[in-house]
């Protein structure tokens, strides 16, 4: 065989190999071979463990704490070797009796006092669920829950909580998603029910912070599949909120990967799933300058379906996280106060079947998934953006969670 033939055929062989690699890279990681160098350097250079996440000192004495969120925060501090955040998101549900309201309030009061003791400000997500199941928004709107909500805040007040210890309250988060019980309401009812709840809060804690959170993606009831999202304006949801009632507006958006074998295109750029225009338009309408994003990345999706399971590597996660910072930075450059809540709890064992976490034990401290998170935290603070974390480690058994109501 002549040399020129060997060279020519080898070139074909190599070209086919690269072609195949490019297709795989594009289909699985939404990248092309042109970005290979950056991918490799991302793994080799960007991902190596940043020594610390921030230059601030960590919150002390969290090591023996039993409160779920703070216990997890301590782990984040261990991984980061520094301060991570002084805001933590936590979930609560709705009371469905006076007795239940008092019990829930007592439990919440204890938690919030502990948070306050360690200087951590809570972001309380009020999930529209009770032990009965999903709250019918129209029923709430009619005043069915008013007495119990009142009893709840009254008890919190009786427990001695101050307005600042209450932190920020976010009633009915992501209520534009169809898995909530919205059958008897429309988009405009969201403003009514949120206002109703926050006014009740203000009645007992006039200086507590109130906020809203809506999903960037909306869906129709009949077409509720993650890839059928519509990133439409969210203004119809806030028409009935009086400007000045909420202190901040929240936009929730997450990346999406098609299940294994699907031909659907992944959504991995925050410019799509967390577009700031949706947030700033709401903030402008409600006359606030505070915007926050509830977002995150996952290492595994469809975790309970072996044929559909999807894995996302650390460099891809970092790329997504970088795009989140970019969006947040744009908002900041436009004069908004911006914060990000990093949703980072492993939910792979729930119906949601997504692992949003960055490690599974402290033994994983050095793994590159954790490094991606550390780089992200560094980036967030370096852009003057505030950070909060959601990770309770394990889900509290007395709070029904959104994934319990997700379609099978």
């Amino acid at each position: 065989m002549k040399k020129r033939h060997i060279i020519c055929y080898s070139a074909i062989f190599l070209a086919l190999s690269l072609f195949s690699f490019n297709i795989t890279l594009s289909a699985l990681a939404n990248r092309n071979i042109g970005t290979l160098a950056s991918m490799l350097t991302a793994k080799a250079a960007s991902l190596p463990s940043p020594s610390v996440c921030t230059n601030e000192n960590r919150i002390d004495n969290l090591s023996d704490i039993t409160t779920a969120g703070l216990r997890e925060l301590n782990q984040y501090q261990n991984i980061c070797g520094s301060f991570v955040a002084n805001h933590m998101m936590l979930l609560t549900s709705m009371p469905n009796s006076t007795k239940n309201a008092i019990e829930l309030a007592d439990s919440m009061a204890a938690t919030l006092k502990t948070y306050s003791e360690y200087g951590v400000s809570p972001i309380v997500m009020v999930e529209p669920v009770t032990s009965w199941g999903l709250v019918d928004f129209s029923e709430y709107e009619s005043g069915f829950y008013d007495d119990w909500i009142s009893a709840y805040f009254k008890e919190l007040k009786l427990q001695g909580l101050t307005d600042s210890q209450m932190g920020t309250w976010v009633p009915f988060p992501e209520a534009n998603l169809p898995y909530w019980n919205t059958a008897n309401t429309t988009a405009s009812d969201f403003g009514v029910i949120v206002s109703k709840y926050l006014e009740a809060l203000e009645g007992y804690f006039p200086n507590a912070q109130g906020s809203i959170l809506l999903s960037s993606a909306t869906y129709t009831d009949t077409n509720f599949s993650w890839q059928n999202e519509n990133y439409a304006s969210l203004l119809p949801y806030i028409t009935n909120i009086e400007p000045g009632l909420v202190d901040s507006v929240g936009l929730q958006g997450f990346p999406w990967m098609p299940p294994e074998g699907s031909t659907a295109a992944p959504i991995t750029n925050a410019n799509t799933f967390l577009n700031i225009k949706q947030a700033t338009s709401m903030a402008d309408a409600l006359k606030t300058k505070e915007i926050w994003f509830n977002t995150g990345t996952f290492s595994t999706a469809y975790a309970q379906s072996p044929n559909s399971i999807v894995f996302v590597d650390a460099s891809t996660r970092l790329q997504i996280l970088d795009s989140i910072i970019s969006e947040a930075s744009i908002a900041k450059s436009k004069g908004y106060d911006v914060s990000i809540n990093l949703f980072a709890q492993d939910q792979s064992n729930t119906k949601e079947a997504i692992d949003w976490s960055y490690w599974h034990s402290e033994a994983d401290e050095s793994n590159i998934q954790a490094d991606a998170m550390k780089s992200f935290i560094q980036g967030v603070y370096s852009h003057g953006i505030q950070l909060s974390i959601f990770d309770n480690g394990e889900q509290a058994s007395n709070i029904p969670l959104i994934q319990d109501y997700m379609p099978e």
């Binding site: 074909i12 086919l16 297709i23 289909a27 074998g261």
Partner: protein
């Protein structure tokens, strides 16, 4: 677009992989029955002959062209054989090196009457006309009922001829191919070929069980002489005369088999260039022959072996088609595993090869194979190199087929085989 292509390629790979797994599974399951089949054949023939086997004279033909390094060793190995009714015919095909000198020196030193160790040694020098012509030259002058061809860069095991004669006690057998092993060579290329031959010749067991053996390589094959009277001599116009003759025999409905206990050691290609040329010769020769005997594919003719026509030959073509997609397939599997972190398919592939290794080791003659077993984790990159070589040979074969070109006779620097034919072999 890329996602769609990924799905298409993945589906293609899945189809190819499934078909190949079926093949290898069938081969692995059937292969072990080879020993049973051959033992039963031997028993039946022994009964028929009432313990008195026929005396068959084997004419061993050794064509040689510039084989000064190995020719004497080849002849010595035949002389050292335990079988006595042997005629050794050396045909020097116009060598320009010292082959002639080496053979004459050896004959002068070892014999005065043309016999060494009871074996008749004959030497011819002729003008260069190619290997096929050299073989025919020897066949025309052979006196034995059995014609055995051995390359001049190979040596036979001490009991190879004795074992070969046993197969021809069965009057139905027209041709037998021996078990060719690559001589010990500690280079990477040598190692790759040893592993490859180990696999290839293990699978000949399955061919034999199915009665579908169809390649009798010139390095170590034997034919009943009458077959040449019936079907004619080797085709001198084709460089892969052995492959053509093999297919001609199968096409005409003759019974053939594989003899695992007839062991020959041959010198493998020692450089990448020689390996490329060797594979090109094999591939092009195979394509030429397949074209010539294309009516054998899916043939229901009574003379044609159905396993060969409907399973072995179509699968051989399928393997070539798979090879065409191999750079895409292997890269896709490796990159998929790396990017997704899902190493299940890759692990399955590696483990499958390991199982084949293991089965090979269990049924192989030599304990050395168990040492090779330890190489299994490294076999993937080694075979990837071989895929590249085969791929180049495939493209060049296509090109030559389209242009109607013929291949040149391969030449490479000889180093000589390492093995000495002092060991016996028995069927495991």
């Amino acid at each position: 677009m890329n996602t769609e292509l990924f799905i298409i390629f993945r589906t293609l790979i899945f189809i190819f992989a499934t078909l190949m797994l079926v093949k290898y599974y069938v081969f692995m399951v059937i292969g072990p029955f080879y020993t049973v089949k051959e033992s039963l054949r031997e028993l039946k023939i022994t009964k028929q002959q009432k313990g008195k086997p026929k005396r068959l004279v084997i004419s061993v033909i050794i064509p040689a062209r510039d084989e000064e390094v190995g020719i004497v060793k080849t002849v010595q190995s035949v002389i050292a054989n335990t079988y006595s009714d042997v005629e050794i015919i050396i045909v020097n095909d116009g060598s320009k090196d010292r082959t002639d000198e080496r053979v004459r020196e050896f004959m002068q030193r070892e014999t005065s009457d043309g016999y060494v160790n009871g074996k008749h040694l004959v030497y011819f020098y002729k003008e260069n006309a190619g290997k096929g012509a050299a073989l025919n030259y020897g066949i025309e002058r052979a006196t034995g009922e059995i014609i055995m061809t051995i390359d001049a860069d190979s040596v036979v095991a001490k009991d190879a001829l004795t074992n070969m004669a046993v197969y021809f006690q069965d009057d139905r057998i027209s041709a037998v191919v021996g078990n060719v092993k690559v001589s010990k060579n500690e280079t990477v290329i040598g190692l790759i070929q040893r592993l490859e031959y180990m696999f290839g010749f293990y699978f000949k067991r399955t061919h034999a069980v199915l009665g579908a053996e169809y390649i009798f390589g010139g390095a170590c094959a034997a034919f009943r002489k009458s077959i040449f009277d019936t079907l004619g001599l080797f085709d001198v116009h084709i460089k892969t005369e052995d492959i053509e003759m093999s297919m001609r025999i199968r096409f005409n409905g003759h019974v053939c088999t594989y003899a695992e206990n007839v062991i020959c050691y041959t010198e493998g290609a020692s450089t990448v260039a020689s390996l490329l040329n060797q594979r090109l010769r094999w591939k092009k020769g195979r394509f030429d022959t397949f074209l010539k005997y294309r009516s054998l594919f899916w043939s229901s003719h009574k003379d044609h072996n159905k396993a060969l026509a409907f399973f072995i030959l179509p699968y051989t073509l399928l393997s070539e088609a798979q090879l065409f997609f191999e750079p895409i397939g292997i890269t896709l599997l490796l990159s998929y595993s790396y990017i997704s972190g899902d190493y299940i398919s890759l692990t399955f592939g590696v483990m499958f090869i390991f199982v084949i290794y293991l089965i090979n080791a269990i049924f192989h003659h030599e304990g050395m194979t168990l040492k090779l077993l330890l190489l299994f984790p490294f076999s993937w990159p080694l075979f990837y190199f071989l895929v590249w070589v085969e791929y180049l040979a495939l493209l060049q074969s296509f090109r030559m087929l389209l242009k109607g070109d013929e291949i040149e006779w391969q030449r490479w620097d000889r180093t000589g085989v390492q093995e000495l034919p002092y060991t016996n072999t028995t069927l495991s």
